[in-house]
Symmetry: C2
Subunit: 208 residues, 2 copies
DNA sequence: CCAAAAGTGTTCTCCATACACCCATGC
DNA sequence: GCATGGGTGTATGGAGAACACTTTTGG
């Protein structure tokens, strides 16, 4: 099981990578992953791995694809069920390494050469994320609990890799009825105060 | 590995099922499936299984999802990568059983109680097929090489489970530029002759 | 001759897009 | 006072949905 963990900071969209301490690919960066235990489901394994690596429990997590090329692991035949996750880097300070291994966040387009077929997995995860974003509101998981519409739009632009029109974006998101106003404003920046919004957890049912 | 094989005949949309000869679920119907060999990819395993069961080689085949509930197989822990396939029942006469086991085609909504979690797998395959059909032309694989627009529309209506407007359907499909006229007509039925169309294999690139 | 199916255009609505200005705040 | 970013409305074009009649052919 391997997991593509996406996070967002002020530099952009990031992915969590682990530097391997053992052969094969010793010293190379790889996606966090591990073996599914005999008494846990695939989802549970992914969630456990994610918690071990980031300390986070409640995150968006979804199965991506299962990779089964014969030689993807040079040691022996290993099939990997890949997941992808969206985590909130801004509030919890994610300790990116629980164990001795080095772990770090890389820009999704600045990742080093990855071990195994993990570049393919990362690529597919990015495409899936883009695809989902197009037709259903997702990705609030990457933002703080309260966020401005500009932050949300910025996230969309990062993932879709194109600029969006501010007025159209705001109208579409608000009409979709998946976020609601809070009574707070973001302040401190130059410029007017920005209304903070919150994801409506009960809205999931309406969308799907 | 398990495989949901869809076929189309004049009764409707069918799925291929195998009656199990061995415990567990002896005598129950199940999806065709088998174990992935150590020197074949997942796709190859699915294709091999499909050929063993139906004798067909060139079919649409796509990975669906990986099922990993702990108790899905009562004997021991088994994770299954599910695929779905679209085959053409009308031209090749598919021998639905290569080996001793009973095999038969069932209407997708008339299937008996299935072994393991295969009902879930079938359900998800149906939803995936519906989802794909909505936004990209697919499903020609279920029809004869040459087909009329009415046949194609009938297929869409079966999968989507709703009626479609004839004029809108024809316009959309023709504008999508994925099928082309042949020089033949279907005749023999009551009523005027119907132009036969063919799928444009080179059109795949344009769509995806 | 009648039932069945093929083929064909236009209108309307709605959604997506394009586009520009004013105002509040921090420095 | 100025740079930064928040917030707002309208006009246009394109896609999808609704809708009915004529013609051909087999029985």
């Amino acid at each position: 099981m391997d997991c593509v963990v996406f996070g967002l900071d002020d530099e952009g969209l990031k992915v969590l990578l682990i530097q391997r301490g053992l052969a094969p690919f010793e010293g190379k960066w790889a996606l966090p992953g591990g073996f599914v235990r005999v008494n846990e489901t695939l989802d549970e394994a992914a969630r456990r791995e994610l918690e071990e690596e980031t300390g986070l429990r409640k995150v968006f997590l979804e199965q991506l694809y299962t990779f089964g090329a014969v030689d993807r692991d040079p040691r022996e035949r290993v099939v990997s069920v890949a997941y992808y996750a969206l985590v909130n880097l801004s509030e919890h300070h994610v300790h990116a390494a629980t164990d001795a291994r080095d772990a770090a966040w890389f820009g999704v387009h600045d990742a080093p050469t990855l071990a195994f077929d993990h570049a393919d997995i990362l690529q597919m995860a990015l495409e899936r994320l883009r695809g989902k974003l197009r037709y259903q509101p997702i990705g609030f998981e990457l933002l703080p609990k309260k966020f401005t519409l500009s932050q949300l739009q910025h996230l969309y632009e990062l993932v879709l890799e194109r600029e969006l029109d501010k007025r159209n974006f705001r109208r579409r998101i608000l009409e979709a009825d998946v976020i609601e106003e809070t009574e707070n404003y973001r302040t401190g920046q130059v410029g007017p105060r920005a209304m903070l919004y919150r994801y409506r957890p009960d809205a999931v049912a309406e969308v799907t």
